[in-house]
């Protein structure tokens, strides 16, 4: 972890020095650049900041005075309640459990996609089998059929396999990934043929070549795809809503809505808890991005060969 952070800062320094000559040719543009950047940061961060600050107030205050920018002092109580209070209709689900569910979905989704798409791309690039190109384009064409379009048949399949209300049912139908396959295919194609030949002469079979050479070489690529897919998986809403009805399988993203819904009636809704949950729901993806950022950029920009 610590080395990762140190590396992060040096990477940032390096890009800064690398870009200096280009900047200086435009001289004054620099201040303007920063103003634009700061404005962008403000635009993105301000709502988050307000949401976090408001979540530290009592719900009555929020109900009466709206969103807050100051410190409400109720931070510990609210977040403790959100994480540990058994809520929902059945009073069985806590914030912690929902976080756990979200993590399982996000990780399963991301890791499953990486494994499946890497294997698919490996087969397509390195093995000559009939209709390989055709297969690739069939996989690719599934991009034209997003989840929303095929939600009914997907439900039908999961239901008939008896996987409703299971983690498997949540994750398995989603892990085939055309995007991932495409990225890995492009990456594998850029690996020089001589490397494969050298490995063949060194006596590495197909499995060994994949494991000893291709997987380590794809590290940055895997990190990049992991980030994207983890965030996508974490933020799934429609899919878990359809596949799971039991509250013990609720994810954080669904929980936010649950908080607002359950307490509506004569009571004042627990705005603070809903906001706290939203803030909590944002943390893990943000952490993943911070940790993998350096590899992510490396994976997209340079490919070490």
């Amino acid at each position: 972890m610590t080395t990762q952070e140190i590396d992060l800062s040096t990477a940032a320094d390096r890009t800064a020095t690398a870009e200096k000559p280009r900047r200086s040719t435009f001289g004054r543009v620099r201040y303007y650049d920063h103003a634009v950047l700061l404005f962008g940061v403000f635009l993105m961060m301000a709502p988050l900041f307000v949401a976090f600050m408001t979540s530290t107030y009592q719900p009555e205050v929020i109900h009466r005075h709206g969103m807050q920018v100051g410190w409400g002092g109720n931070f510990q109580e609210t977040y403790w309640t959100v994480l540990t209070k058994k809520g929902g209709f059945s009073e069985e689900v806590t914030g912690l459990l929902m976080t756990q569910n979200s993590l399982i979905l996000g990780l399963g989704f991301a890791i499953g996609k990486i494994v499946v798409s890497m294997l698919a791309a490996y087969a397509i690039v390195y093995f000559r089998f009939p209709l390989a190109t055709f297969c690739f384009w069939v996989i690719f064409s599934t991009l034209l059929l997003p989840l929303e379009v095929r939600i009914l048949p997907s439900y039908e399949v999961v239901q008939s396999l008896g996987m409703l209300n299971t983690y498997t049912g949540l994750i398995l139908p989603l892990i085939a990934s055309a995007t991932g396959t495409f990225f890995f295919r492009q990456f594998f194609k850029s690996v020089p043929d001589e490397l494969v030949e050298a490995a063949r002469i060194d006596g590495a079979g197909p499995v060994q070549f994949f494991w000893d050479i291709l997987v380590p070489l794809s590290r940055t690529m895997m990190a990049a795809i992991f980030i994207i897919m983890f965030v996508v998986g974490w933020n799934q809403y429609l899919w878990p809503t359809l596949m799971t009805t039991e509250e013990t399988l609720y994810t954080l993203v669904r929980g936010i809505r649950q908080v607002m819904q359950t307490y509506i009636g004569s009571n004042i809704p627990d705005y603070n808890e809903a906001l706290a949950m939203a803030v909590l729901a944002m943390l893990p993806p943000a952490l993943v991005i911070i940790i993998f950022q350096r590899m992510f950029i490396k994976g997209l920009v340079e490919q070490e060969k």
Binding site: E194, L195, E197, A198, R200, I201, D202, G203, E304
Partner: protein
Amino acid sequence: MTTLRIKNAVKRYPNGAHAVKGVSVDVEDGELVVFVGPSGCGKSTLLRMVAGLEEVTEGEIELAGRVVNDLEPADRNIAMVFQNYALYPHMSVRGNLAYGLKNRGTSKEEIDRKVQEAGKLLQIDEFLDRKPSQLSGGQRQRVAMGRAIVRDPAIFLFDEPLSNLDAKLRNQMRLEIKKLQRRLATAAIYVTHDQVEAMTLADKIVVLNGGEIEQVGTPGEVYSNPATTFVASFIGAPPMNLIPARMEGGAIDFGDQRIPHTANFNGPVTFGLRPERAQLGNGGALKMDVSVVEELGAQRLIHGRIGGHEMTLAQPAEQEPPKGSVAVGFRPEDVHLFDVTSGVRI
């Protein structure tokens, strides 16, 4: 003993391309054989057929007494050095050297010993724990050779290993490869398009053109007795002068002048003369009109015309540069005559 015997090797690709058209070559024990030719002549394909990276369409590859046509590259007891080194970028130098041995199931102590040995031999022992990206081009090439050496192969296969290096380093590494090969006394095939590399390294040169052998011989033979006009123009720098002429009644006719020659032939010929084998001045038999003089330091190149055809001749630097017209002399044995249509030596 013969290490490698290539018998009538043919390579035809599924798309109909005919890369190698029946080539037979023997590589004796400890011999360094160079395949040389222009790009697309099939030299790399032939090497890859020996390595097992290309399938053999027809013919036989016999290595150390057994036919290896259907063996995997790893089972052929060969080692290959690639043009772009093809080092595993994520492994240390040690990892690169050890990978093949590990896959063979060699014991850890044995691997360590061999890696150390190869490291010392190639002077890369201090870099063993670095990644290839932290090494210079020459050092990477050494690592690639180290990876070949630790395998103790029956034959080394070099596929243009020096093409990615700058000129100075290339000369240095060329010498090192030769020394190393002599020291290990292992047979080797070396593929290159560079005739200087071919001449300096080879015990035996195989000149290839269009998937066929033009000539096999020692560098000296290939240089002084080229079998065809192709070999004559490919080997030697600057290349041999080849101009059309007529052989009639014991003399070569260039159109505007004739010189006596003893060859027993009548009809059109291609007349060949190496630039460095001509003597300028001193009442030579031929007259050449000088157009341009190029100064090279040790010698100079005199460009001119004989019988309406371009000629380039070399002259030692200590002689006076000629002007206008100069007499060109040469020994009769330095004259090469080739058939006009087939290009074969007469």
